[in-house]
Amino acid sequence: MAHAALPGICIAFLLYGQKSLLVFLIGAACSGYIATVCIQFIVKHTRIKEDAAIGIVLSVFFGLGIVLLTWINQHEGGNQSGINDFLFGKAASLTGSDVNVLTVTAITMIITILIFFKEFKIITFDRAFAQGIGVPVSLLNGVLMFLIVSVVVIGLQAVGVVLMSALFITPALAARYWTEKLEWMTLLAGVFGALSGVAGAYMSLIAYVPTGPLVIIFATMLFLFSFLFAPKRGLCNKMIRRHIERKKLRSKQLMYKRGEQL
């Protein structure tokens, strides 16, 4: 998704003529939507599998984005550094208004998720059931898609294209290890994301290293910690449990043997 948004942002810039978050958002949403449609079309009508279809559409869209980016840089003068930042992100150079936009987005995100929580839950776990009881699945999918695209566009400025996907996946994956409940998982993923953001930003202040990658590294460390030490699903606990079970089994076997001998 993050890759597919780039041409939309560039086209929006070409049409509108200056850097504006709202216009970028619309452009990104459009090209993201087109990309999704293309992927579904390819999977449905050819024998190409989904992973290859995603790869095709995303890399071609991103290539187009790069072409447009170089075009813009050459034809519109040198004040387009703002659009270049979309590629790699500069958390440190965010201005106050950017922070305001980010805050508003975060709040909107939380409210939307609170409102539609039950619906999202049903369509995530059992789409057919949701359709059966009359939940407007495609509409909600659209809402979800819109949320994703807005987060991508706004987050791009902070962390850049490449690391955007990491922030989507890693905290959620880490949260998955701690709980079986979607409520907690959503909350935890948010907390993990925030934690790694704060830690990464702080480290980057101390060590003079770009913020984006550090945030990702912290998120990954959180994931590794959860992967190893989470209660129930963590690797260590699984091994300990297995060890205990094995001991139990062995002592049982021993008792049976004794019983036979007697």
Binding site: H3, I42, H45, T46, R47, I48, K49, D51, A52, A53, I54, G55, I56, L58, S59, V60, F62, G63, L64, G65, I66, V67, L68, L69, T70, W71, Q74, L87, F88, V162, L163, S165, A166, F168, I169, T170, L173, A207, Y208, V209, P210, G212, P213, L214, I216, I217, T220, F223, F227, R233, L235
Partner: protein
């Protein structure tokens, strides 16, 4: 040879290399791994630089090979322990990439390698970075590197053609036949890493992904035979790099981006007119008139 010819040759070599490896990736449904490895290879390049203090040739290949195999290994490990495979890929490569970027920025004053360069590539500079033997220039370094990797790729594919074929199409049968499927998987990933790093410097990470997946998927529409598909996808790669280069010079835009777009155009055309699996043919069949 002229400036243009060297660029075209480089792009064509990238096309052939990626086309060959990409075919197996598409058939094995592992396209996303190419995205992952193309990013994490950055860490290999940085690591190789920190050890050997140079950015060319063998040390870079070894570094990329190691990190590529590490990526494959970690993804497989997480997958075995119950993480979904696409999520596993996402976590591993973003983390390795992030480490790579951090290392670059820590040593940025000494390394001639910035992230922008790595992502977009600078094929336009290839002809000036020449290899000299006994004071005589014998062509750009990138061309020799790509040629070397191409030789390895062709050698492995010819040598292990049957094994690659069977394990790609029916891995269970391959296991029963006694073919070391896991080993083949790692060999393929090793080849992928080599190809990626050799293409990396001249064309950048995005184009590598486009060149790996799109021509092979296009070839997949044209043919049912693996041997034909390999040749087809290499040829489509070359064709796309020619068209892309011409387009890029005509409009004065990024060469690697234009080549990626060209692969997309070829794919789109093939989608309709491919003889067996094209859409036109399918629709004609459906409505006999």
């Amino acid at each position: 040879m002229s400036y243009t010819m060297w660029i075209l040759l480089t792009a064509a070599l990238v096309g052939i290399n990626c086309g060959l490896i990409g075919t197996f990736l598409v058939l094995r449904k592992m396209s996303m791994l190419s995205d992952a490895i193309s990013h994490s290879v950055l860490l290999g390049i940085v690591g190789a630089y920190m050890v050997s203090h140079q950015l060319q040739g063998v040390s870079m290949l070894i570094g990329a090979l190691l990190v590529g195999l590490l990526t494959t290994f970690l993804v497989q490990l997480l997958h075995q322990k119950g993480v979904q495979s696409d999520a596993a890929i996402g976590v591993v490569f973003t983390c390795l990439f992030a480490i790579g970027v951090v290392l670059i920025s820590l040593f940025a004053d000494r390394v001639h390698l910035d992230v922008e360069h790595a992502l977009m590539g600078e094929i336009a500079f290839v002809p000036w970075d020449v290899l000299e033997v006994g004071g005589k220039s014998i062509g750009p370094k990138a061309v020799w590197l790509l040629g070397f990797v191409l030789a390895i790729n062709i050698f492995v594919i010819v040598f292990a053609y049957k094994e690659l074929k069977i394990s790609s199409f029916d891995s269970e049968m391959a296991v029963t036949l006694g073919i070391p499927v896991v080993f083949i998987h790692y060999v393929l990933m090793g080849m992928l890493s080599l190809t990626t790093v050799a293409s990396f410097d001249s064309v950048g990470a995005i184009l590598v992904v486009a060149m790996l997946i799109v021509p092979s998927a296009t070839a997949y529409l044209w043919t049912d035979r693996l041997s034909v598909m390999l040749i087809c996808s290499a040829m489509i790669g070359v064709l796309a790099s020619m068209i892309g280069y011409m387009g890029a010079t005509a409009f004065n835009v990024s060469i690697s981006g234009a080549i990626a777009v060209a692969t997309g155009v070829i794919f789109f055309v093939s989608l309709w007119i491919a003889p067996k699996h094209g859409l036109l043919r399918k629709w004609l069949k459906k409505s006999p008139a």
